[in-house]
Each structure stands twice: as C-alpha cells, then as structure tokens.
C-alpha cells in the first residue's frame, strides 16, 4: 500500500435545509487501502459516502478523485471514471435476471453485448453467484442480493469501490464470507471505502478508520488506535467498550 491518495476531500460540507450533515470535512483515501468510515447514527457517514459517489453535490468544498476534480459530477460520470458503489438496502433490478443485472454494470467498459455478458459471467463466478445467473433478481436471498450489488459494482471495473453497510444484518458465517470476498477484491488493487456499523467485523478488516461525529471528523488512524481513542469511546462506543 502506498500513501498516494486516490480521494481527497477538502473542506467538504453538505447542508440539508438547516441541518449540517457534513461540516467542512477533510479526508484522504489512499490508493489500495480498505478504509472504514464509522460513527454513530446521524454522524454524516452516509452523506459523505453519497457525496463521493455523486448522488448529490456538496454545498461547499472540493472532492478530488485520481487527480481530477470531481466535485458535483453526476454519478454516471463518476462510474465511468472508476467509482462504483453498493446500496445499504440492496437495489437490484428486479425485472431482470441476475446476469442481466450485472451486465448493466459491465456495459460501461464493454459496449458490445457479448463481451459485456462475458464480463458479467466472470464477475458472477468471482463473487460466487454463477449458479444463480439466470434467476430473477427478486428471487435472491438478502445476502445473495448483497453479493449481486457487489458483482454489479465490480462489473464496472472500478478503481474505488464504495460499500455501504454490506456486512450489516448478515449471520456471522455470511459476514465471514463477505469479509473474505472484500479481501479478495482488495488483492486485485481496488481501493475500498466501507461504511459500517458492526465494529467487530470491520475493525480487523480495515487498514484505517475515519470516525465521524456530528458531521465532523472526530478521529482517524489505525483501527486499534481509533478504538482506544478517548473521544471516540465517549462519542460512539460508550463506556462499556472501554475494556476493549
């Protein structure tokens, strides 16, 4: 892992009416790392995540991706540049089959049908959904839908993969399988930013954690250091976690 930054957020703010969801956030994502974006509910994690993904523009500030200013660019453009995301609540295309879902993503890099479909099939194989290729999106179980989301995102051949609570709500066995998949994806050189609630699962997985609280960066650093940070414990983990 190098310290070469892939995403730089400079004084990024986002207001929703009177609510300041992100307040002048400075944050860097390094190329090749797995970064955990954590914080209590309402900390502004999802807002920051959506700003980087281009779901809406920041109210002020600047976001750089891969040396390029991407502030306010639409999501489709960002996808072409190499940013892919998943959704907290899986949003599969339910009238389409699993392979068709993934092919939609593959078309960004492979405009021709057969190449796109081949890419989609390879990605399905990679995430372990190949046997479900012809099933309807709506027939999948929730953990399979999560995999489908990841597969769709990977089919766009991203440099940066944004994962929104992909491990939340899974059984321990499913979560372990998820962790393995995420590690495997990182091995291929993809930078990963993940928003998570489940600390126990995320902490061993991420290289670095950024803790948000009330729209500001509260702490950042190695996961082990972050969990011991007094401010973080007070704001988020609560006293019962002090022992950790």
């Amino acid at each position: 892992m190098s310290s070469d930054p892939i995403v730089i957020c400079e004084k990024v703010s986002r207001r929703f009416g009177g609510l300041v969801a992100n307040d002048s956030i400075d944050m860097t994502v390094r190329r090749g790392e797995i970064l955990g974006l954590i914080g209590p509910n309402g900390a502004g994690k999802s807002t920051l995540f959506n700003l980087i993904a281009g779901s809406f523009p920041p109210s002020s500030g600047k976001i750089m991706f891969d040396g390029q200013d991407i502030t306010g660019l639409p999501a489709a453009k960002l996808c072409a540049l190499g940013i892919a995301r998943t959704y907290q609540v899986p949003r599969s295309f339910d009238s389409m089959s699993v392979i068709e879902n993934v092919t939609v993503g593959a078309f960004v890099r492979y405009p021709r049908m057969l190449q796109a479909r081949e890419k989609a099939m390879a990605v399905l194989d990679y995430v372990g959904l190949a046997s479900k290729a012809d099933a309807a999106g709506s027939e999948l179980t929730p953990p399979q839908k999560r995999r489908l989301e990841v597969a769709r995102a990977l089919a766009t051949e991203p440099k940066l993969l944004l994962l929104d609570e992909v491990l939340t709500g899974l059984t321990p066995a499913e979560a372990r399988a998820g962790v393995e998949l995420i590690r495997k994806i990182r091995e291929t050189g993809v930078t990963i930013v993940m928003v998570e609630h489940v600390m126990e699962v995320v902490m061993p997985l991420v290289d670095r954690a950024v803790v948000l609280h009330l729209g500001k960066v509260l702490a950042e650093g190695a996961p082990t250091a972050v969990v011991r940070d007094e401010k973080v414990i007070a704001a988020y983990l609560g006293d019962r976690h002090r022992a950790a």
């Binding site: 092919t103 993503g105 078309f107 405009p111 012809d134």
Partner: protein, 338 residues
C-alpha cells in the same frame, strides 16, 4: 474450468436469441399467407387494424414497457404522423412514403422537446403530463385552419398504386404494408432489447438511482426511448391517414388512440417482445366487434370493456398474458435441467 463456466452460458444465450428470431420470421411468414385465405373486406379491415395496433403498441412498449415511462399521450405522435403525411400529400403532392418519414422525424423531435421538461417528472406525474400535452395538441389542431381545423383533410382519390400508397378497392396491399411495419418494429425492439440501450432502459425502469450509479445516463436513456417510440408511432399514424383517406382531429388524436396503444402492451405483457402483438390480437378485434354490435364510437362502451379486461389481467397476472408463457417455459427448463 472457469472458462467453461463463463463461455457456456454465452453460447446458450446466442442460441436462444437465434431461436427467437427464427420463430419470429416463421410467424411473419405465416401471417403473410392469411390474405390467401381471407377475402372478406370487413375481416381484412379488422386484420389490418390489428396489425397496425400491434405495431403501434410495440412502439409504445419501447418507452412505456422497457423504459417504464408510461405515456398516455401517444395519440399526439400518431396525429403528427397522420397530419404530416396528409398535408404533404394533399397540399404538396409528396407521396405517403415521404410523408411518413417526415412525420416520423418530426415526431421524434417533438418527443425530445417534450421529454426535456417531462422526464424530470416521475411515475404518475409523467403519465398525467403526457395526457395533458396530447389533449393540448388536439385542441390546437382543432383550431388550426391550415390543417383543415375541425373539418380535417380529405385525400383525393387516385388510381391504385404502391407509389402513392392508395388502394381504393383491394385492401390487401395495406395488409402487407402494416405487416411490414409490425415486423420492422418487432425487429427493432428485438435488436435493441438485448443491447446496451435495452439493458439501460430496463435498469432505468426498475431503479433509476441504481442505474445511474452503474454509469447509465438516465435522462439520455429516456430521451432515446421516447424518440424511437415516437418515430414509429408517427409512421403508423401516416399509414392510417393513407388507409382511411380522410382525417380530422378526433379521428386521429382522440385519447382513445393513446389508450389503444398502451392497452395491448399492458394486456399482453409490458416489456416483452410478443406482449403487444398478443394484446392487440385480443383487443382490436374485440373493439371492432363491440363497435359493430354495441353502436358507434361515441358510446365509449368498448373502452369500458377494455378497462375491465386490463383490470382483471393486472390483478391476476401483472406480467400480462406473456407472463404465463414465461413462467411455464421456466418450469419446463427447470425440469429439463433436473
């Protein structure tokens, strides 16, 4: 091993696409034989209208079925085609072929101009806007003196000819023309649906935000679907004008036409290749029968019947009639695999 896993589904995909195409060509060829068996003018008339609305509904299906933008104002594009073709022929002597092409292009441009504001509206709001715009169009044509206003436009009678697309007695040529139009709309749909655009449309229909995050420019996808849909709808309108030789605002731009383009697709199965044709095959003969047995257009009783039919279908079989076939085919596949 992984190579086999990746390439085997591709070959079966290509094979199933080819099978679909062969079946379609057989169906078109079979339909082309019908005039050898049917000589009755009334039946021929019903067949022509059935094929016309199969083609129109197929065009509607591109925007309404695949892309999920339910338009209830396609009578506007039908009207543009009918008026463009009639005016060019009657006032400028340009034959229907040119008129239909011009009407189609004009219609696609109008669809883009209207789509620019309307595609910012979602779901029902979009549908309502399309109804309102089509009704405004109808009112404008009613007061448009150059276009004959409420009196409409009468086509002059000429000897039968493919060049002017006028046939006074023998209606069979019209049958072949609409069969051709239907085949073209089917083939265009077939080609696009399994391409990047087709997948984008379906993704836009299911979840526009997720589609956008996968690199789909949602707005452009809708605009593309609208332009193609409007183009073929207007060609249908131009043909209809040549076929009936007389148009007035109500006879080509009534709300009834918007419904008659949407309903076959809804009944047969939105977003399916054969849905519009199957729906038209049921609805159009039924519409003609109710019209002849229950009285003329004014009563609207035929619309009440379609309304009921569509309600029953959407409640019991939301994917339309084609949904039944799809499900039984899937079961057969599952059995074959086991």
């Amino acid at each position: 091993m992984s190579d086999i896993a990746v390439t085997a589904p591709i070959t079966s995909f290509v094979a199933s696409r080819r099978r679909q195409l062969v079946i379609a060509l057989i169906v078109f060829a079979a339909i082309a034989l019908i005039p050898r068996a049917v000589s009755d003018v009334y039946t021929m008339n019903v067949l022509i209208l059935t094929l016309l609305f199969a083609a129109l509904s197929q065009s509607w299906n591109i925007l309404g079925g695949y892309c999920g933008q339910v338009s209830l104002g396609h009578a506007l594009y039908f009207g543009i085609g009918a008026y463009a073709t009639s005016i060019l022929f009657v006032k400028f002597g340009i034959v229907a072929w040119g008129g239909m092409l011009f009407g189609g292009i004009l219609s696609a441009l109008v669809a883009l101009a209207l789509g620019y504001p309307c595609f910012r509206l979602k779901g029902h709001y979009f549908s309502i806007a399309t109804i309102v715009i089509a009704e405004i169009g109808l009112l404008l044509v009613h007061n448009w003196d150059y276009g004959g206003a409420a009196l409409g436009i009468q086509w002059p009678f000429n000897p039968d000819s493919w060049w002017t697309l006028q046939f006074a007695r023998n209606k069979v040529p019209y049958f072949y023309f609409v069969l051709g139009l239907f085949a073209v709309t089917w083939l265009v749909t077939y080609a696009i649906v399994e391409s990047r655009w087709g997948y984008w449309w379906r993704a836009v229909k299911d979840d526009p935000d997720a589609a956008e995050s996968l690199g789909v420019t949602v707005f452009n996808s809708k605009m593309g679907a609208a332009a193609i849909s409007a183009f073929f709808t207007a060609i249908g309108g131009g043909f209809y004008a040549a076929f009936v030789s007389y148009i007035d605002p109500e006879s080509v731009m009534h709300f009834r036409f918007s419904l008659l383009m949407a309903l076959p697709a809804v009944l047969g199965g939105v977003g399916s290749l054969w849905g519009p044709a199957v729906g038209a095959l049921i609805l159009i003969p039924m519409a003609e029968l109710t019209r002849s047995y229950l009285g003329g257009t004014g009563s609207g009783l035929d619309l009440v019947i379609y309304g009921l039919l569509v309600m029953v279908v959407s409640l019991t079989q939301p994917e339309g009639i084609m949904g039944i076939f799809k499900r039984s085919a899937k079961k057969a596949d599952a059995k074959a695999e086991a």
